[in-house]
Symmetry: C2
Subunit: 210 residues, 2 copies
């Protein structure tokens, strides 16, 4: 069995299930910045993240965008889950934030395992729960926080996800994620720099202390 699978899901799933996953799952490594899922698309397999991070974005009909949350290793996409179960189409866009390694599980199997393995059932429900919580967390941020606080939270989150205190993004990219304008982000970042919390450079932001 591939070591990566064992490392990431070994304490979550029983041995038989791990063997099944290893048998029917397809391993895939996807480069950074690749769009995995688009709004309106249907999926026939479900991804388990082994390594890396995926950015889940809401995109409406006018092309307005907003970052919903990040997925990391050990996570799966709840939207894909329910798309698989119910044959619904996707309402979100998924882009690899870093290079990402996935195991793709065919729908047929994931349905079968629901009745067969308690640990799998648990994993699926936990995933739904976590995604619902993250959606609510996003709602909290947009509804209750001002843009400066949202930006701060975003920067913290980003350093955690990328395991790096240097954030390689333009102000425009950040503005898209937070659904605001570039000028607003530049303004607030400059304020953070003046407060000594970050260091601004072209195409990147170094976090000093948030």
């Amino acid at each position: 069995m591939i070591q990566l699978l064992k490392d990431n899901y070994g304490n979550l799933f029983e041995k038989e299930l791990l063997l099944e996953i290893n048998g029917v799952g397809t391993f895939k490594t996807i480069p950074e910045g690749f769009t995995i899922i688009r709004p309106g698309s249907y999926t026939t397999s479900m991804p388990l993240i082994i390594e890396g991070a995926i950015k889940i974005i809401r995109e409406d009909a006018n092309g307005d965008e907003l970052l919903l949350y990040f997925l990391e290793k050990g996570d799966t996409c709840a939207m894909t889950l329910s798309c698989c179960f119910g044959q619904h189409k996707s309402e979100i866009k998924a882009i690899t934030e870093t290079e990402t390694t996935l195991i793709m599980i065919p729908i047929r199997k994931m349905e079968e395992w629901i009745t067969k393995y308690y640990s799998w059932r648990n994993f699926v429900f936990e995933s739904y729960h976590n995604r619902l919580l993250e959606a609510i967390e996003t709602i909290d941020s947009i509804a209750f926080l001002n843009m400066d606080e949202r930006l701060l939270k975003y920067l913290k989150n980003k350093t955690k996800i990328n395991q790096n205190t240097i954030i390689k993004n333009t102000h425009q990219e950040i503005a898209y994620d937070l659904h605001t304008s570039r000028v607003v982000i530049s303004r607030l970042l400059k304020k953070l720099e003046n407060e000594g919390k970050i260091q601004l450079n072209r195409n990147s932001i170094e976090i000093i202390s948030l």
Copy 2:
């Protein structure tokens, strides 16, 4: 078997399951404006809505509030679902919007039925899916719409849920749901009245044409 159960879930669940629900479920009728679930609370049973409507509200530590969505007959609370499965505590507040009749299902049974009945499994997953979609819909509204559009959407939704073109609420109550101030709501409502879309009265709003 109670007719209401058959009427609302008859085409969703098989006969055996309906009989089981009827056997172990407890029927409850709750008056309007009653708080069913509070943030931080744990639940040991899961509600199926038979009649009426429930308002699901996010409430943060500072007491800030925001309406997430309404639940109607045929719905169940996904947050409660995952609370039951995972022993998590509630992150939301649930208040009856109208008088509501529920069937309460003990956790033990709902877990057992997951493996036993395909239709139940389906129902649970569909519920999660729908709640996730509604959370995303809420995110859309807060992120992409201005307050006047959000108010309009709110009024439309409210007439649908209550089956009544007269909305019995004060401006303050609406302001809480949309997490803004009373003055803002009064201002926008007055604008809608001037446009001939609504008629304002003390403690109530009559919808003319939205």
